[in-house]
Symmetry: C2
DNA sequence: GAGGGGTTTGGGAACGTTCTTAAGAACGTT
DNA sequence: AACGTTCTTAAGAACGTTCCCAAACCCCTC
């Protein structure tokens, strides 16, 4: 009913009988006489004035928007990050633009260049695959970028990373302590950043504990998804008889759980299962899933704060933060319900 | 390395030796001589020119952004919607701004008024609680709004809704066909739109099939979350012995599954369980969860298309779309693995 | 009462784009 | 050769805001 007509400073100024600059001053908390302030506020309220975002951006250069780019908005680990980021970013007065790039490096490069349109004040991104071109694009961006994930050592960009190797080490240690010797890995694509990190971590841990590194114990799913995990686990069970399975993320581990159940194998009695990322899916699984917490929420939080700091203080030194992993033990390795 | 200096039309024009308007014309596909076009494109490429989003908005009134407001970005049903919406919106050339309002009506009202800042071309919102004030705010908004969810009959807003009542009817029918008679409901808060709809649907279906409507068979969780679902189910099992449980969403149903398992009750032999929304969580659960597909993906898709149409054609007649439900039968009611 | 310091207000440019309007060039027609 | 038509290009206003700077005013002091 109460149609909101579009209003601007000029209309408010006319209604209050003052100048445009005075209205702006009052509304932005500048000094003004009580009388003037009263008139301006009255007029503004009466007209339902709201400042125009783009006009303000035009003048100040700030958009009050931050972009978050992830590969897949459906993946639980990104959901968790998104949830954390929305909170922090909103509290700091920013809106969140969410971009789903898929795993295609070109789409990510396009995103970085499109950022130069100036629709956001900064970018949070968690690239699944990193190419030279992507790094080059990020480097030459005019806007601050914080990367959630591992970058080559020589890239001077703010960066919050997990420690997959140590994380897998925790999982293997936990399994070895239970007497498991044939520990299998259901990995995602190894040409991705997490895929390669997890493979390396697995190999290192297996060697450290003196376990057999049989290639039959390693399978690679075509993606970090449930479906792909079912297939990969089926292949694994066809070629080896592990007494433990580590999934490279929770979805792959849940897929392993389901595939084991379908084969009539008991978890954890016959085979123990460990996931990674410690997302909601781990707690909801049956049996509940032991999972390596790679600190996705903490990483997201740290990255968001880092980005906000850099926006406010562009000259700050480049930070590289590593979030230490932790193990959440649940039923799938004999932990409590 | 290749630092991108900020460039604008004026710089491009100067470099190409032509006027600013000519550059704009060429870059927006207006008519121009081949010679002029060549010079302009060369200069633009050399300077790495990208148009400034806010300046363009300022002039055209378009922001190429759409806002999606949901109560909780972590809830699987909203995740599913978000995934669908990102795809459609990106394909149509829009960016997606995601806003997590919580279930607080005031936060939603603030969002609607802040929309008048003009940072987006339209709003997709799925309100958990609807108040008169919220409806009033949506009505008087200058920008198009499409509501995903049920609205009072007299509100003339584009609207895509589920049919919870029929959906619950499907679930009850399916359970009755198996000989279940004591069908319980684990609902979410009844002062929410989905909560009240599901309660009404449950009562209607129970009556239609001539089942006893004992109040011991109805419990209400404090939120649509897993934790709340565990508590509510525990309470239910303490006060009644149902032979079937319907969860008002998948999280509540998964919680029921886990609570039943903890109590040593077999599913589906002793108690059958049905969820609602048919999210990924249903397929991942053990046993996999029969769930009422309320068409969340379809609703999100329809709503996004509706909004885009209305942005392009503001005078179009108001649409109200109802997505019919379907039942996905899985193990928790004796279906296939 | 004139000058000076301080405070309050207003004028107007600038941000980068698009688009209307008009000027100029090229060309054909009478 | 004069005129009209069409096509190409340029000039400049406008979108709504902020902020620099100058004008106007008040009060105090000498």
């Amino acid at each position: 009913m109460a149609e909101t007509p579009k209003s601007n400073l000029q209309l408010v100024a006319a209604k209050a009988g003052v100048s445009v600059s005075s209205v702006s001053r009052v509304l932005n908390g500048g000094s003004a006489s009580p009388e003037l302030a009263r008139k301006v506020r009255e007029a503004a309220a009466e007209l339902g004035y709201v400042p125009h975002a783009s006009a303000r951006t035009m003048r100040t250069g700030r958009t009050d928007q931050i972009t978050l780019a992830v590969a897949d908005v459906g993946n639980p680990v990104y959901v968790q990050m998104m949830r954390t980021v929305t909170g922090i970013v909103a509290k700091a007065g920013y809106r969140l633009v969410v971009s789903s790039t898929g795993s295609d490096p070109q789409a990510q490069i396009d995103l970085v260049t499109s950022l130069n349109r100036g629709y956001a004040d900064g970018l949070l991104m968690s690239p699944l695959r990193i190419t030279e071109d992507l790094i080059e694009a990020m480097r030459s961006s005019r806007l601050p970028i914080v990367v959630i994930g591992t970058l080559p050592a020589d890239v001077a960009l703010d960066n919050v990373r997990a420690d997959s190797a140590t994380g897998i080490g925790l999982a293997v240690e936990h399994l070895v302590a239970q007497g498991r010797r044939r520990i299998a890995l259901v990995n995602g694509p190894v040409d991705t950043v997490p895929g390669s990190a997890r493979l390396a971590g697995y190999l290192a841990a297996v060697e450290r504990f003196g376990l057999a590194t049989s290639s039959e114990l390693q399978v690679t799913a075509t993606a970090f998804t449930y479906r792909a995990g079912r297939k990969a686990t089926a292949a694994l069970l066809g070629q080896a008889s592990p007494d433990a399975i580590i999934g490279a993320n929770d979805l792959l581990a849940v897929a392993a759980l389901k595939e084991l159940a379908a084969a009539g194998t008991r978890v954890p009695e016959d085979v123990a299962v460990v996931g990674m990322d410690d997302t909601d899916a781990a707690e909801l699984a049956t049996p509940s899933l032991t999972s390596v917490d790679l600190g996705s929420a903490k990483r997201a939080k740290a990255a968001a704060k880092l980005l906000i700091r850099r926006i406010q203080e562009p000259g700050a030194p480049v930070s590289r933060i590593v979030i230490p992993p932790a193990l959440s033990v649940r039923e799938s390795t004999g932990g409590p319900a």
